[in-house]
């Protein structure tokens, strides 16, 4: 997966601002950190063994792509990333890969926190509410699926 944009992580869910300061503000999903995060996959796909899992694409398709990378692509290891709700799917894909390899593959999981920034803009331009930003933290997982080195 070499798409520079939309690394394939689960889309940022809509948030519902509770405060009524800007009356019925439209939730504008333009997170600053999101752009930064998009830089990362541009580097990683250089090696082409990174797979970002999302909830939109069919599960089987993502699993098939991982398998193709491992078997056909000749990569000794791939890294499966998942953010938020896609963590479950990423774990499932990794475990499935391990199961279908009859135990030849090993998993190594790392977790991290990703900051997501939401920009809130008032829906009604006449309203005096100023655009606000809100920062959220989200969990992410990075699972390395690899053939262990023969030692």
């Amino acid at each position: 997966m070499t798409e520079p944009r939309n690394p394939g992580m689960s889309s940022v869910p809509q948030i519902n601002p509770a405060h009524t300061e800007s009356s019925s503000p439209a939730v504008e999903m333009d997170p600053v950190e999101y752009t930064l995060r998009k830089r990362l996959p541009r580097k990683l796909p250089k090696r082409r063994n990174d797979v970002y899992v999302n909830m939109k694409t069919d599960f089987r398709a993502q699993l098939a792509r991982c398998q193709k990378l491992l078997e056909g692509g000749g990569h000794r290891e791939i890294c499966v990333h998942g953010l938020g709700l896609a963590i479950n799917r990423a774990i499932n894909i990794a475990l499935q890969l391990q199961a279908s390899s009859q135990g030849a593959l090993q998993l190594a999981a790392n977790t991290s926190t990703v900051e997501l920034v939401d920009d809130l803009e008032p829906e009604d331009p006449d309203e005096a509410g100023e655009p606000m930003t809100r920062t959220r933290n989200n969990s992410a997982i990075h699972i390395k699926v690899f053939y262990p080195d023969p030692q």
Partner: protein, 281 residues
């Protein structure tokens, strides 16, 4: 739906075939289509619970749980489509525990994160243990967490487990982390809505995660090891060049700004700067 299935053994299909012959009817045809659709070459161990909105798919009828004979099976076909028809009534879920954390720790605090757990409560308890023990030089009089704590969760609670671990790492710095993934088999018992005689035991495999946080250094060669908060430095390094692959497995794989030790403001500043530069490039 293919993704909605659990493990379907061969015997299962035979059983339902017999059921079909004995009881013709529309309802019974359902499992056939469903089973045929799912019974492909490999034996997938997907977790329907996670990916479809329907709650559960009782699909696996192990020979162990032979509570029902083929006769009640005609009742179960609608149940296969899920508990919404006919099996709504009672679902007592029991969990099979394969084995605890695949390793070493002897006297550690084990936090079991469930789907409905409140993070506030979990963290309050865990932090009290971890930070309380810190003063006590880890002398093991207390049976609780001393220097290590394990967060375990399965199914829908996996994300919450990871979040708890991340929060603890942020509050208690310099924790070594070891993450293990495996499947966990859960046993659920469903009863029929009409005619409470037929019971079904469903074995469902769900992905589960166990995160060990330790103040003591762990073995870096262990798969799933993550050193304490080296992310910010590594993130800067990898902007220039890929840091050498350490013995530990890709701590740099973490995404930017885990924000452990530095406040958010500089993160955002850097972020926006980099964003603008990336847009222009």
């Amino acid at each position: 739906m293919f993704t909605g299935c659990g493990v379907v053994s061969g015997q299962n299909q035979h059983l339902t075939n017999n059921a079909v012959k004995s009881q013709p009817g529309l309802e019974v045809n359902k499992p056939i289509q469903f089973e045929n659709g799912t019974n492909q070459g490999t034996n997938p161990v997907f977790q329907g619970q996670t990916y479809t909105n329907s709650v559960m798919h009782p699909e696996v009828f192990n020979s162990v749980s032979n509570l029902q004979k083929p006769a009640p099976l005609p009742v179960s076909p609608p149940a296969i489509k899920l508990g919404q028809d006919g099996f709504k009534k009672v679902c007592r879920t029991e969990e099979e525990s394969p084995c605890p954390f695949p390793g070493l720790p002897s006297g550690v605090l084990e936090m079991r994160v469930k789907e409905g757990s409140k993070i506030r409560n979990l963290m309050g308890f865990a932090m009290a243990r971890m930070q309380g023990e810190k003063a006590g030089s880890g002398g093991g009089a207390d049976s609780a967490g001393l220097r290590q704590v394990v967060f375990t969760g399965s199914g829908r609670a996996v994300t919450k487990t990871i979040t708890c671990a991340e929060i603890m790492k942020r509050k208690v710095g310099c924790l070594h982390q070891l993450t293990k993934l495996r499947y966990k088999v859960m046993k659920e018992v469903w009863e029929s809505n009409q005619g409470g005689t037929s019971e079904m035991t469903v074995h469902r495999t769900v992905p589960s995660i166990s995160i060990l946080l330790s103040k003591d250094p762990l073995d870096p060669r262990e798969p799933g090891y993550q050193p304490p908060e080296a992310f910010s430095a590594l993130w800067e390094d990898r902007e220039g060049a890929e840091p050498a692959a350490q013995t530990c497995k890709r701590p740099l794989g973490s995404l930017p700004h885990s924000g452990f030790s530095h406040p958010k403001k500089p993160c955002l500043g850097r972020g926006s700067f980099s964003a603008s530069s990336s847009l222009t490039s």
